[in-house]
Symmetry: C2
Subunit: 198 residues, 2 copies
């Protein structure tokens, strides 16, 4: 059975982007710091693009890239240029949007969905036995509130950003209990995995 898993890099003070996040500045000012652990791989010989990071960080990236569907919000999707229509390996992508009709079928792999529960259900169906990659703070908050986020994979980066966009906000005062299921130390990052219990 598929599970919906939030993959996010977060600073110890809870930020997933620096300040002034927006189009053309998707990670906010100096927010690229949060992705240093991913870019730690040596540049590939021909392209100059960073290769797969080594060690535990590479394993984490492999897991992320083995997911069978993607759910993200417009705030993640748009600054990323829609991943040029393909996040990885041609898996289906579900974009949460309050005005889906106008944008439907802009990219062949993408489906615009206005309801988070519907998006998660469709993504699980599409992913089959594989996990669903969930991305973005807004999507995470909606999914947690609706009880449709199964797991968290937090890449905890050893820095205090000080300002920016927080991953966890607007959740209300009811506690959401988590069960730690795996802790992996990578180079320049700690990978914390949790099951969402309630």
């Amino acid at each position: 059975m598929s599970a919906t898993v939030l993959y996010m890099s977060m600073s110890l003070d809870g930020f997933i982007a620096g300040p002034n996040q927006g189009p053309g500045n998707g990670l906010g000012d100096a927010g690229h710091r949060l992705h240093d652990w991913i870019l730690g791989g040596a540049p590939t010989e021909h392209s100059g693009v960073p290769g797969r990071p080594s060690g535990a960080n590479g394993t984490m990236m492999d897991e992320l890239m083995a997911t069978g569907a993607v759910v993200a919000g417009r705030g993640t999707f748009e600054p990323a240029g829609g991943w040029e229509g393909d996040h990885h390996d041609g898996v289906p992508i579900f974009i949460l949007s309050r005005r889906p009709e106008a944008e439907e079928a802009q990219w062949p792999l993408m489906t615009y969905v206005s309801d988070v529960e519907e998006a998660m259900a469709a993504a699980k169906e599409a992913a089959g036995e594989k996990e669903v990659l969930v991305h973005g703070a807004g999507t995470a908050q909606l999914a947690l509130a609706a009880g449709v986020l199964d797991e968290l994979q937090i890449h905890l980066v050893p820095v205090l950003l000080g300002e920016g966009r927080r991953l966890f906000e607007h959740l209300g005062a009811d506690h959401i209990e988590l069960e730690p299921t795996r802790i992996v130390e990578g180079a320049g990052v700690t990978h914390l995995r949790y099951r969402v219990l309630s």
Copy 2:
């Protein structure tokens, strides 16, 4: 040489107390959840007070109780009833306060200090070779901003509190880099230790 070490239990979403924190409600509404890992020890035979927790959590408590001085703010000190004048083992306690004169010498072990740098320097001097236990969000923020906090010992609790008082706020947009020095998995908590680099 002594080091100033912030010891704080924090939820994954960054809170060190629930909402409505104040006198008589030091951990805020339902904030006691953050201390469950400490209270996991079995009640001692006679007192009914929880004993030292077992395993890694007990080791963490031992480290905390081996510190040679305490620095805390009034927001920590007052809800705790001033620890009845003795936090542990009679070590000197330095309380950050903007109006120190009126309160000086209320308790024999306590010194009221208005400046965080002065408080940390005095505590290090008093602690000798031992660490200085730093406690409280306000004190942490002042000490980080002044560059006088050497290490962080975060007891990361697997829960999203949703609302309450955050540990890291008002730090400004300059990044503070950290170096992870130790990760210990305890029962119901993950102990993350960092050196503050810049």
